[in-house]
Symmetry: C2
Subunit: 173 residues, 2 copies
């Protein structure tokens, strides 16, 4: 088992992904319409189909209140709409609006221009390696989201359950 190797790549991931993300975030902010990480992830999900608030919160790994607020902001901007479920009146469906699609497309075009320029330096082979690796990473992280309700919280859950509710108490100085 290449456990050591695993940790080496994990370290690399930890050191590199945040840097890439910071560059992307900065670029998203200077775009035609500023858009944040969570927003872009939410909008991307909604391109395909409407979702409930809970599902969006899970997919983006934030709490329900946070997602509720985020959606309120997007709603105010007219990028998404809320709609109560007729059967189960507790449920709220979130749908992307035509304007929302337009904005997303703009942001996407802008970002693709920028990122593509950076990838200009890669050879054909390297491009393929990057492409493949992204898919693998995506699969790995998506699995984590699917498995866990929130934040990959319970890692060593070998049968040991009942750790619910109480998370590590974090107190700030």
């Amino acid at each position: 088992m290449s456990h050591l190797e695993n940790r080496t790549i994990a370290l690399k991931t930890l050191e590199i992904i945040p840097v890439i993300m910071r560059v992307m975030s900065a670029q998203m902010r200077v775009g035609v319409t500023p858009i944040s990480t969570t927003q872009i992830v939410v909008m991307r999900i909604l391109l395909d189909k409407r979702e409930t608030l809970s599902e969006l919160a899970k997919q983006t790994q934030v709490t329900l209140p946070t997602m509720s607020n985020t959606i309120s902001t997007l709603e105010e901007r007219g990028w998404v709409s809320r709609e109560r479920d007729a059967q189960d009146r507790r449920v709220v469906w979130i749908e992307i609006t035509p304007l929302g699609r337009e904005i997303y497309q703009q942001a996407q075009d802008h970002m693709i221009d920028q990122i593509a320029a950076l990838l200009e330096t890669l050879s054909r082979d390297e491009q393929e390696q990057v492409s493949g690796a992204l898919s693998m990473l995506n699969a790995a992280f998506a699995a984590a989201i699917a498995q866990n309700p929130h934040a990959l919280s319970h890692r060593f859950d070998d049968g040991h359950q009942g750790d619910d509710g109480h998370r590590t108490d974090n107190q700030q100085p």
Copy 2:
């Protein structure tokens, strides 16, 4: 030609990296000591050597005021220290403290545990592909940072130069 391919990979990057980052962010928040993206990038830079505030802002692609605030927060926690340059009194050097190193190590250990677990599913070959791809992406994005003073700011040159006579080309130190 490979330009199209470039844009395809760029799209993939845009769709996948933010998702990965959201999972990592969520995980960083539940760690022993909560730490943000910018903070972890800054601390990583400072592990190697002290830097000026401007340089940190550039490296992490945030504005100077933002970095000033971030550093203030880290300083209050005792993770970094500020020191005026003796020669040029405008300059402030930021250095990581022993406590800062300790905290960073803790956060890193915590994150590596989590990420490594996700990478369990990858085969040896896949691990190597991911590792290589991360290096390539890192190089590409690092080059972008090095080239531009802030946020890859000059997006579309709208042709309007504004200054008769002299260009606003990069006159970087």
